[in-house]
Amino acid sequence: MNKINEGFSLAIVIIIVASLSAIFSSVIFFVSSNQYRILKELAKTRNRAILYDTIGTALLEMRDDIDEDITSPFEGWFADLPSTIKEVSVTYSEESSKIDINHRDLSTLKRIKILKKNTEMEKIKNIYFFYPWQFYSLIDEQKKDWAKKVFTIYKIPNLSTINHNRLKLYMKSLNKSDYFKKMLCSKLNITNNNNGKQITKSQFENLSMIYKRGKEDNLYKEFDYKGTINLNFVTRDVFFTLFRLNGQTNPNIIKKYWNKIQQKRRIKNSIKSVNEIFSKSSQYEKYFSCNSRVFVVTVKKDNMTLSVLVNRYKNFRGIIKTEILQYWLKSNKQG
């Protein structure tokens, strides 16, 4: 009797223990895998929040207590920007010193022969580029990489150089009223913008009358009137291309100016005024300056990267403001 009972108990115990173990282990596996997934999601959300927080801090660094009208990689506020904020790496790149393709007469591109052979100017005349690839798709295959370094679509239009047809497209994108368009165009005609003359500070400030009361700041956000290509950052390709686009064909003149810029850079000396490079500076002030306006700020944490396009401008009270124009969030799926 004893022997048979022992055997029976053992079998039952083994079956029960085995089935219970199977059930509990599957429950534990399920719970732990869920917990792992939740923790992973939480880490992702936390990283994203950290990135957005870091961008906010970086923008504060770009505007707080700064009263300089010069942007240079060698000295001043730009050189002093922190490369890490709360252990998150931050990089700043200058976007202003490229040629603004969205607001210039596209027919001038014929002068540098970069468009595809079958491109019809009439067809592309009214294309407003929302994404860079739209412009690059018009470029000859061999010159695409070069064009990426020279042209940008992310600049704020300069009223001293903007093409009228492109200005209309820009205002359409801002959804400006017909009254606004009419007023701005008439004011620009008064300032003889069609002749490409530099708009003065007071002429620009007068344009704020077109805006509703309390919205004057938008003028400074949406338009510029001074040269936007910063001589402290401009590359050789951009410098030479801009001259060729504007009809300057004498390479010796361009080389002379470029050599002056190079001399300054060799001794890590910032260019503080357009006069330092150009003898007749008045005709170049609408293209060049020593200050920058558009930047790309990139922050990285683990496998996530957040880049933002920043518009840094002085408002009507002369206070530096920053506005995020565009976000690009990239995450590595393996992470």
Partner: protein, 179 residues
């Protein structure tokens, strides 16, 4: 003294018979039956609970993936250069906007919530849209605001919108998106 083999087997058989009296058998069978029923019941309820938990978890996962998708779209809206107004569509339960070089269409119908994503392209190039249906969205509505938090006039472009989602588990979510 060694006993012959047949004697041992007779004695064992006797012992075996001793343990199976009628009462003992009834008690053992009853106890074992109750025990087996209890185990089966536990097993069934555990399996049911497990299935329910798995179902809930898969629903939660689906909802969290959906929220992640909507948040990603809303955090990376293409703001500059701004698209022309006629390319957008703003309605109470429908919205067309641009994010990460894609045209995004949110629409809440009678049955479900639909997200249509399509790579932004010139008219010459056409790409196949990705259409996803989310049946766990019970309700969806959008409110639009100007920069000064007012309701936009008819011709005015909204500066931001607030999307309100209600899910099948009655959880609610508000997402603010700059347009």
């Amino acid at each position: 003294m060694r006993l012959p083999k047949n004697i041992i087997s007779i004695r064992t058989f006797d012992k075996f018979n001793d343990g199976f009296s009628l009462i003992e058998t009834v008690i053992v069978v009853t106890v074992v039956s109750i025990f087996i029923i209890l185990i089966l019941q536990t097993f069934i309820s555990l399996t049911k609970g497990y299935n329910k938990m798995q179902k809930n978890s898969s629903m939660t996962r689906k909802i969290s993936l959906f929220i992640e998708k909507v948040k990603k779209n809303s955090l990376c809206v293409d703001l500059y250069p701004r698209h022309f107004k006629d390319e957008y569509f703003f309605a109470k339960r429908e919205l067309v906007f641009f994010s990460q070089e894609e045209v995004i269409h949110y629409q809440y119908g009678e049955k479900d919530f639909v997200i249509t994503q399509k790579k932004y392209a010139n008219t010459q190039i056409n790409s196949q849209p990705l259409i996803q249906h989310y049946e766990f969205v019970k309700d969806f509505s959008i409110s639009y605001f100007t920069q000064d938090d007012f309701l936009p006039q008819s011709e005015e472009m909204p500066y931001y919108c607030e999307m309100h989602f209600v899910f099948i588990n009655n959880k609610e979510l508000n997402i603010r998106m700059k347009l």
